[in-house]
Structures are given as C-alpha cells and as structure tokens.
C-alpha cells in the first residue's frame, strides 16, 4: 500500500506516523522545507519539498503506483486540486481536508465525487460530532463506533462509585448477567495495559471498554456511573466548531448557551443559530459562569481558539459543579495534562480529522481504525479472509501476539463479544486492540 500525504502540518504528520506504523509506504509532500525536515527526521517515511499540485513532484512521489492520496494542507483549493490530479493518475482513494462550508451541502460541487474526491473531511464538523458523542455518553472520555454503530468503544475514567475494587477482571465479568462487553485497555498513569483475566481495576484508571451498543448501561455501571439525558449545555467561544456543535445540539432538542467575548461575532452567531442563546461575555470569568448557573449544566464545552483559556474555563466550570467538562486543546503537550487535572475529555479539530481520515483510508480488509488520544493503543477493524490459519480454532488455543486483544466479532447479523471458547470464521469482522508498537505484527497475524 502506498499513500501520498500532502501537507506536513499537525494532521499530515500525525497521519504519516499512524499509517507508517501499519507498515504502509508513505510519501509526505510540503512546501515548507522545515516541516519536510521534521518529517524526515522523526518518521520512517519519504519526505519531499514542493507543491502538492505540481505533477513533477507527484511523479517523484510515485503517484502512478499509489493507492491513496490524502490532501491535508491548510489550503482547501490546493487539497481539492491535488485530488483531481490524483484522479487523472487513477489513484483509487482520494481524501481532502476541506474546511470551507461552501464546498458542502447545497454547493454545485456537491457531492464531492463530482470534484474527483472520494471523501471530504471538514475538521470543525468532525470535531463537533466527536463532542456531541462525548456529551451524549456523559461518563465517556472517548466514544468510537464500529459495525455501523452496533459495537461501541467507550473510554471512561473509573469513578468514585466504582464497586468492583480488588476484583480480578474474570470475577467482575461474573457480576454481569449478559457479559456483552470486554475491558480492552487500561490506562494507569503513564502505563497502558492490555488486560488479562487476572488484572484488577483501580479508581482513577482510564478504562477502554468495547461492547454491544445495548451494553452501554452495563459498561457505565462497571465504571461507577449512571447514564443521563442531555439537556443543559454551555459552550465557551463562538468558534466554527461551537457553531457546528450548536447546530447538532439544537437538532437534538437542546438549547445551548454560548458565550462569546467579541460583540460583533455575537451578533453574527445569533443570526446564524436557530435556538441557541448567544451571550456576550468572557467564559473564563468566574462571576459570569456562576450567575449563568454553570453548576447545573450537564455539559460545559470550552471551544475558544486559546488552549489556556479553554483549560481555565473548563476547570472553573468543573469546580463549580458542571457534570461534564470538555476542552478543545490543540497543543498535544497539554492533552495529558488536561486529563490529569480533572478535565473530563479533550478534543481538537486536528485529531478528529486524523481519525476521520484513518477511518476512510482503511483497505478492504482493514475496515476501520481509530487512535485514542494520549494512549499508545491502536484499534483495527478487520475482515477475516478464507485461508487464514487462525480460523475455526477456539480463541484460547491461538497464540495471539503479545499486547493485543480481540474486542468484538460481527458475523452476519450476529455480534459476539468473544470468550475463549469462541472461534473465528471466514468473513467475520473483528475489532482488535493492540499496543501501537505491536500494530505491525498484529496486522500480519490477522490480515
């Protein structure tokens, strides 16, 4: 598999990193020599300096034998044009990051296939969708759906009301009648564990649990939470992401309150949004948050362009009693910090874009793939082929590579959360969790 990535900014860099770990051949192109050098120094990929719409550079990158082109420069038009060029070279999969709304919806260019693009990813939209999912599952720090939403992966911090102290996982499983979920990874401090039956869960652990969508209540119970319905949401900052999110929340029947410090921007927002209440004010102001009743909100989401402001206002909101606080954080260094100081979840348009693109670049057998923020775990959704030596044998007899766990099996319309006596059949679609450093070995094992 050969993939060309145009743009070596945060998104391009991250994508190149993830895809190369899966053993793909990657070429990264960027105009900026400094960014090209950074990629060449840190990643095991080919990095070229030049324009992504220059056919000579693309030839040098081997476009004629590439399967995928991902254009994620910060210029929409360059990304679109690069995909069109790739189309001329018969590249099978063309993905463009396109931020401007006028290329979507009622645009004469829609659908994107008329532009020769297979998938257009809007970073703000991808981020807003992620926040909405996080808000809908109040306890979750991350939510990923597989098998068209029938299988769900949730990351949750183990809460104070966690009931299964000092119990090994295999005994905890016995406490749940239906056993339709599985703990697939535990993040404890700096350490990521792919657990076995003897491992225990500690309060404060970040658990990653996969299960059937109907198991959500059980999964929440496991981590010490009750699910709740979303009604009261406050958004700090009238940015593009918060506008997208407000639209999504409005569609779900909620009336979000949005704080925006800039008055002119307020007026524009009030014009655009149907039901949301737009208020002029600074969301880092303690008095303002208090007088607006932040103590009673189900969710507080800080989405200004300033990471520090987002951290501060969400911390204030959390301390005042907001049930769930989410902060947009663009600087990767801040993400693990934010999780440690009590912010329930972090999002960024960049990482949402990376995840959306990874989901789209899957090969035929690698159906979906997600990365978890601040965690060295990779998730793969794989389709099992006929002549794989591991089919039709009990799972407990297979020698899985270390640091990997089978999360779920979709067999036709049936969904299994696997146990040791289960087996794989050709055509099964399985979700696998693996430590990122084992991803290469694991994909060889299953593909």
């Amino acid at each position: 598999m050969r993939t060309i990535i145009i743009g070596a900014g945060d998104v391009g860099f991250h994508l190149a990193d993830r895809l190369s770990q899966q053993g793909e051949e990657i070429v990264v192109i960027d105009l900026d020599q400094e960014k090209v050098d950074k990629v060449a120094d840190h990643l095991d990929v080919l990095a070229l300096q030049g324009s992504g719409v220059d056919y000579r550079i693309l030839n040098k990158a081997g476009i004629a034998r590439s399967d995928t082109l991902v254009a994620v420069s910060d210029n929409d038009e360059v990304n679109i044009l690069a995909c069109q060029l790739a189309d001329r070279y018969d590249v099978a999969m063309k993905i463009a990051r396109v931020g401007a709304n006028y290329y979507y919806d009622h645009s004469p260019f829609a659908p994107s296939s008329s532009l020769g693009i297979d998938v257009m990813v809007n970073p703000e939209e991808a981020c807003a969708v992620e926040v909405q999912k996080l808000l809908n599952f109040a306890a979750a720090t991350v939510v990923v759906e597989f098998a068209d939403g029938e299988v769900i992966l949730m990351g949750m911090r183990v809460g104070e009301r966690f009931l299964y102290r000092d119990m090994p996982l295999k005994r905890i499983a016995g406490e749940f009648e239906r056993r339709n979920f599985l703990v697939t990874a535990i993040n404890r401090g700096e350490q990521t564990i792919i657990p076995g039956g003897e491992d225990v869960i500690l309060e404060g652990d970040l658990l990653y649990v996969i299960g059937k969508s109907e198991a959500i209540d059980d999964i929440l119970r496991l981590a010490g939470y009750e699910n709740r319905i979303l009604q009261r949401v406050m958004l700090a900052g009238g940015t593009k992401v918060s506008v997208r999110l407000a639209h999504l929340l409005e569609a779900g029947g909620a009336t979000p309150i949005i704080f925006e410090a800039d008055r002119t921007r307020c007026a524009a927002l009030a014009e655009e949004l149907e039901a949301s209440l737009v208020l002029n004010g600074d969301a880092t102001d303690l008095d303002l948050l208090q007088s607006e009743g932040v103590d009673g909100v189900d969710g507080f989401v800080a989405l200004t362009e300033d990471d520090e402001n987002n951290i501060i206002s969400s911390l204030v909101a959390k301390n005042m009693g907001a049930t769930k606080v989410i902060a947009q954080i663009k600087r990767l260094e801040y993400i693990s910090l934010a999780n440690r100081i009590g912010i329930d979840a972090t999002v960024s348009p960049h990482l949402s874009t990376v995840n959306a693109i990874l989901a789209a670049t899957h090969s035929e057998r690698l159906l979906a793939l997600a990365t978890l923020r601040g965690l060295s775990v990779q998730i793969m959704e794989v389709s099992i082929r006929d002549n794989l030596p591991i089919v039709n044998k009990p799972l407990k007899d297979l020698k899985f590579p270390p640091g990997c766990i089978l999360g779920s099996i979709v067999r036709g319309s049936q969904i299994l959360i696997p146990h040791g006596d289960d087996h794989l059949e050709p055509g099964d679609k399985v979700v696998i969790f693996t430590l990122a450093k084992q991803a290469g070995k694991v994909s060889k094992f299953f593909l």
Binding site: A254, I257, A267, G296
Partner: protein, 150 residues
C-alpha cells in the same frame, strides 16, 4: 415548565415609560413582588451581570437574568418599551422587549437554564417582533406564549 405557566397579568407590562438601561431594570424588578431592600439588592446583581456582558441578544430583545438570594423560586417578568432603549445589545441596536429571569442560587428543580433556553427560542420565532409590537393587551401576550408552546 412551559413559559405560559410563568407569566400572568401581574408580571407583564406592555407600555414601559422609563429612560435608560437602569430605568428598564428597575421597572422589571418592580413587576416582581419584592420589598424595597430586596429590589435594591436585585438591581445591584442585575447591573453586575450586565457589566460582565450585556444580555441584549439583538433583534430588539434583552434577557436580563441572574441568580439571587432575594427570591425563593424562579421569577420572571416581561416588558415592552414602545420607543426602545439602548441596552448595549450585541447588534448595537435598541432593545424593545425585555424578559427578566431571576432564580435562587440553589434551585432543586433547576428550571433556570431550561427557562432561559425557552425564552431564547421564543425570541427567535418567525415574525415574533411584529407580533410583539402589535400586542394590545396582556392577554394577547399570554395567548402568544400559549401558541408558542408546542
């Protein structure tokens, strides 16, 4: 909690005749049944809130609101000023229609934010400005709220 359940002939005033932002706030407070000391404290809180950012949400609407100890349950009032008042609104235009919302600091039922949301939705209904302008009586206003509730 529907808006129509919160308003009545006592907390609606269709012909405000006062000057300036403070005048409007004072008149709105006057529609709540409070003693003078409480009125004074509430005015202070509302002014403090306005200083953090105007509650003038544009299109002629303002929603002054705060939490205050002077009330023991959610209180609301509505007033219309025929000539408009400069409320430092986000669109820079005068405000004609005012919703006051005051809630106690701790409120078990937690109506504050949902009511604030419902008022915001009401203000965004199609043709709402012309409908509010043509109101003749308080009953007309109550009927309008009734129709607005789904």
């Amino acid at each position: 909690m529907e808006l129509k359940e919160l308003f009545n002939e006592f907390n609606v005033e269709l012909n405000l005749d006062v000057d300036g932002k403070d005048g409007v706030l004072l008149a709105l407070i006057g529609l709540l049944k409070l003693d003078d000391k409480a009125k004074e404290m509430l005015l202070k809180m509302l002014k403090k809130r306005e200083n953090l950012g105007s509650t003038g949400i544009g299109k002629g609407f303002a929603i002054p609101h705060c939490r205050s100890l002077v009330v023991d349950k959610l209180n609301v009032a509505f007033a219309r000023h025929p000539n408009g008042v400069d409320f430092n609104s986000i669109d820079g235009k005068p405000a004609y229609f005012f919703f006051l919302i005051v809630a106690p600091p701790v409120e078990i039922s937690n109506y504050y934010l949902p009511v604030l949301g419902k008022v915001a939705q009401f203000c965004k209904m199609p043709d709402i400005v012309s409908k509010l302008r043509s109101l003749k009586t308080v009953d007309n206003f109550l009927e309008l709220l009734d129709k607005a509730s789904p």
